[in-house]
C-alpha cells in the first residue's frame, strides 16, 4: 500500500530525473558546438593571417613597380609637382577644356570635351605671376 503523497513524490522524482537528463544532453551538445566554433575561430584566424601575408606579398612595392612598368607607367618624379598658383588661370581653364580622345568598345574613338563651369569670374590676374 503506497500512500498517495508518496506516488506524487515518486512521479515528481521521475520527472526531475528526466529533466536533468535532458539538460545534461542539451549542455553537452552546446559544448561540442562551442568547441567546434572555437576550432573554426582558430582556423579562420590562421587563414586570415596567411591571406594577409599573401596580400602583403602580392602588393609589395617591388612587384607593383614591375607591374606598373609593364603598363608603361614611370616612377614618380618631383618635377611633376607644380603649385597651382604657378599655372595661370587661363592655362588651367584651357587644360580643363581640352578635348580628350576616348576609345569606345566598338573601336571608334570620340573626342570628349568638358565645358568648364567657371569661366573668368574668379580670374584675379594671378596668372601673370
Amino acid at each position: 500500500m503506497i500512500s498517495r503523497p508518496a506516488i506524487v513524490l515518486l512521479a515528481l522524482l521521475l520527472l526531475a530525473v528526466g529533466a536533468v537528463y535532458q539538460l545534461k544532453y542539451a549542455v553537452r551538445n552546446l559544448e561540442l558546438q562551442r568547441a567546434a566554433i572555437d576550432r573554426a575561430i582558430v582556423e579562420t584566424r590562421w587563414r586570415l593571417r596567411s591571406l594577409r601575408a599573401s596580400w602583403a606579398y602580392l602588393t609589395r612595392p617591388e612587384r607593383l613597380a614591375r607591374l606598373a612598368a609593364e603598363l608603361g607607367l614611370e616612377p614618380a618624379s618631383a618635377t611633376r609637382i607644380v603649385e597651382l598658383d604657378s599655372i595661370g588661370t587661363r592655362d588651367q581653364l584651357e587644360f580643363a577644356a581640352r578635348p580628350v580622345p576616348v576609345p569606345l568598345p566598338s573601336g571608334r574613338e570620340v573626342l570628349l570635351r568638358a565645358k568648364p563651369v567657371v569661366t573668368f569670374a574668379f580670374d584675379s590676374g594671378r596668372e601673370r605671376r
Binding site: 526531475a16 536533468v20 539538460l23 545534461k24 549542455v27 552546446l30 559544448e31 562551442r34 568547441a35 572555437d38 576550432r39 575561430i41 582558430v42 584566424r45 590562421w46 593571417r49 596567411s50 594577409r52 601575408a53 599573401s54 596580400w55 602583403a56 606579398y57 609589395r60 612595392p61 617591388e62 613597380a65 616612377p75 614618380a76 618624379s77 618631383a78 618635377t79 611633376r80 609637382i81 607644380v82 603649385e83
Partner: protein
C-alpha cells in the same frame, strides 16, 4: 517514549531530505555546466581560442606587413599502419615536391612507428595528400615566421630560428617584446621609400661593381629612419642560405673612414667656435707640411680660398687649417664627443659598430681627422650627426621605431642657429657649384657633401692606394631640411659614363639625386620656392674675395668644370 521516537524519525527525514536536495541542486548545476570554476578551467574556452600565443607581427609606419607568423602543416607517417608502405611511398613522392620515393621507402622500413614525410606542405600538397585517403598518415601543425617583403628590409628585420626566437636584426634586439605577442611592433620604415632607396642603390651597386653599399633616409626632425638598405642583402625567409657578407649591416655594423664627408663636421665646428668666420681665407697654394707628412689636394686650386671655396672644392689643405684655427685636437675631441661620434651607436639593432677614435691626438692626427681619415664611424653615426647640425642644431637620436608625438625630452643643443644657417648654405653651394653638382635637381634645392675616402690596406697598415669608399650626404629641401639621404659605395669602379672616376660626386651623388626626386612626392615635400632659391643664390654675390672685389668667387666657381 513513542512521541520521542516519532520526533527522531522526522528529524532524520528532514536531514536526509535536505541532503538529497543539495545533491540534486548540485547535479542540475553541474549538468548545465554553469558553475564558474568550470568555465575558467574548462578546456578550450572562448578566451583560449582568442588568444593565439605567438610572436607579434612587425609592420611599417603605415601598417604594411613586414613579418608575421603563419601556420604550416608537416606530414608524418606511422609506417606500421600503412597498408602498403612501398606503394604509399611512391604515391606520396609523386605528389610532394622534393620528396624521393626511394628515401621514403627507406624511412618506412618495417618495424618503425614514426617517420617524417615532408615538412611545411603547401596548401595544394595538403589537398593532394588528403585525397589519397591513406591511413597511417598524420599532419602536424607548427608556426613559421614569414617575411612577405622578402629582401626589402632584410638587415632591419633580421630573422628568427626554428623555435621562433629572434636571431638577428630587430627580431633579436626586440625579442622579448615580440615574444610577448600582442600588438604589432610598428617600425619607422616606409616600405615605399625603402623600395625606392633599394632599387636606386642596387642599380649603382651593380653599375659600379661595388663590393658593398649602404643607403639611409632619416627624418631630420624626429630621427626616424624611413629607409635603411645595406647591400648585398638576403631573403630572411631563407636566412640559412645567406653568406656572411650578405648578413653584414654596412649602415650600422661596419665602421668606415668617411673621408671628405667629415668636412661637414669640421666646418660646423670651425664656424661654431667663433674663431673662423664664413669669409676667412686660407692659403691653399701649396700642400701643407706637418712633421714628415705632406697633405695635398686632389684638385689643387693653388691659391687662397675662402671657407665656402674650401668646402665647395673640398680642399684638404684649407680644411686642416680651419680645424687648427678652431682649436685643433681639444676642440675636435670635444665636438666629436658632443655629436656622439665616440660612442657605439644607439639603435634598435644588434649590429652596432663601435667607432675607431684616435688614442693620441698629435697634430697629424688632428689634421687627418679634419678631413675624415684616422677616425672610423658607422654611416648611421654620421647621418645622425649631420641631421643634427644642419637640422635644427640639436642632437638627433636615430630610431627604427615609429615615434608618435613629440619626443619626451628636450634634445641637447649642438650648434647655434647661425651656424646651422651657414652650414646649410655651404652644403647648398657644394651641390650648386662645387663637387656635388651631379646631385642637382630641378624640383628641390639640395644641400650635400661629397666624400671619396681611401680604404685602409688589407693588413690595416697604410692605405690600399686603389680602393675607395665613395659617398654623398644630401639634405632636402636645404632651405628647411626635412630628410637626410646618405649613400656610401664600397670600392666602386668607374665606367665610361663617369670617365673612369670613382669620386663620390660621380658615383654616389647621382644616386642621392634619384632617391630624392622619387621619394619627395611620396613624402609630400613641396618643391622649393623661387624666393628661397633667390635668397640662397643672393649670398654668392656678397662673398668678399682676395683682392676685395665681390663676385670673383662666383666667377671662379662657375669656371670650374663639373664637380668631382
Amino acid at each position: 517514549m513513542v512521541e520521542r521516537g516519532r520526533l527522531r524519525v522526522r528529524l532524520l527525514a528532514a536531514v536526509f531530505a535536505l541532503a538529497f536536495l543539495s545533491v540534486g541542486i548540485r547535479l542540475v548545476d553541474m549538468a548545465s555546466g554553469g558553475s564558474r570554476e568550470r568555465m575558467a578551467a574548462g578546456s578550450g574556452g572562448p578566451t583560449a581560442a582568442m588568444r593565439t600565443p605567438d610572436r607579434a607581427e612587425i609592420r611599417d609606419r603605415n601598417g604594411v606587413l613586414l613579418a608575421t607568423n603563419v601556420q604550416v602543416l608537416s606530414l608524418t607517417a606511422d609506417p606500421s599502419r600503412l597498408p602498403d608502405p612501398d606503394r604509399a611511398a611512391e604515391l606520396l613522392a609523386a605528389r610532394l615536391s622534393g620528396v624521393e620515393a626511394a628515401e621514403l621507402k627507406r624511412r618506412f622500413a618495417v618495424g618503425r612507428r614514426f617517420a617524417w614525410v615532408k615538412r611545411e606542405l603547401t596548401p595544394a600538397e595538403q589537398r593532394a595528400v588528403l585525397e589519397l585517403g591513406l591511413p597511417g598518415l598524420d599532419f602536424r601543425s607548427s608556426q613559421r615566421r614569414l617575411y612577405p617583403q622578402r629582401r626589402l628590409a632584410s638587415h632591419v628585420l633580421g630573422f628568427t630560428g626554428v623555435d621562433n626566437q629572434g636571431l638577428a636584426g630587430i627580431e633579436l634586439a626586440m625579442d622579448e617584446r615580440l615574444q610577448d605577442g600582442g600588438e604589432p611592433l610598428v617600425l619607422s620604415l616606409d616600405v615605399r621609400v625603402q623600395e625606392v632607396v633599394r632599387d636606386s642603390l642596387l642599380a649603382a651597386y651593380r653599375r659600379f661593381r661595388a663590393i658593398g653599399a649602404c643607403a639611409i633616409v632619416l627624418d631630420v626632425r624626429s630621427g626616424e629612419l624611413l629607409a635603411l638598405v645595406s647591400l648585398p642583402d638576403f631573403d630572411p625567409n631563407a636566412y640559412e642560405r645567406a653568406r656572411p657578407a650578405e648578413r653584414e649591416n654596412r649602415c650600422t655594423g661596419g665602421v668606415y673612414e668617411l673621408g671628405s664627408l667629415f668636412k661637414v663636421i669640421t666646418a660646423a665646428m670651425a664656424l661654431e667656435s667663433g674663431r673662423v668666420g664664413l669669409y676667412d681665407r686660407f692659403d691653399a697654394r701649396e700642400p701643407i707640411r706637418i712633421g714628415r707628412n705632406r697633405i695635398g689636394d686632389d684638385h689643387a686650386k693653388k691659391r687662397w680660398l675662402t671657407v665656402p671655396e674650401v668646402f665647395a672644392f673640398s680642399s684638404n689643405v684649407g680644411t686642416v687649417q680651419m680645424a687648427f684655427a678652431a682649436g685643433g685636437a681639444t676642440a675636435q675631441q670635444a665636438f666629436l664627443e658632443r655629436l656622439g661620434m665616440t660612442r657605439p651607436l644607439e639603435i634598435e639593432l644588434v649590429q652596432r659598430g663601435r667607432p675607431l677614435v684616435p688614442r693620441r691626438w698629435i697634430d697629424i692626427v688632428s689634421a687627418t681627422v679634419s678631413f675624415g681619415h684616422g677616425i672610423a664611424v658607422t654611416p648611421l653615426h654620421f647621418a645622425a650627426a649631420v641631421a643634427g647640425l644642419a637640422g635644427d642644431g640639436t642632437r638627433v637620436a636615430p630610431t627604427l621605431l615609429r615615434r608618435d608625438g613629440p619626443p619626451e625630452t628636450a634634445r641637447p643643443r649642438l650648434v647655434s642657429d647661425r651656424t646651422v644657417r651657414d652650414l646649410r648654405w655651404l652644403m647648398w653651394l657644394v651641390v650648386e657649384k662645387g663637387t656635388g653638382t651631379k646631385a642637382r635637381l630641378p624640383a628641390y634645392m639640395l644641400g650635400g657633401k661629397t666624400g671619396t675616402a681611401d680604404k685602409p690596406g688589407r693588413n690595416r697598415r697604410g692605405y690600399d692606394g686603389e680602393a675607395v669608399i665613395a659617398s654623398f650626404v644630401g639634405l632636402f629641401p636645404i632651405e628647411d631640411p626635412r630628410y637626410l639621404v646618405l649613400v656610401t659605395l664600397d670600392d666602386p669602379k668607374g665606367d665610361k659614363g663617369t670617365f673612369g672616376f670613382r669620386y663620390g660626386g660621380w658615383t654616389a651623388a647621382p644616386v642621392v639625386a634619384t632617391i630624392v626626386d622619387r621619394i619627395g612626392p611620396i613624402l609630400g615635400v613641396p618643391p622649393s620656392r623661387p624666393a628661397d632659391r633667390q635668397r640662397f643664390a643672393a649670398r654668392l654675390k656678397i662673398v668678399p674675395t682676395m683682392n676685395g672685389r665681390t663676385g670673383e668667387m662666383e666667377e671662379g666657381l662657375a669656371a670650374l668644370d663639373a664637380g668631382w
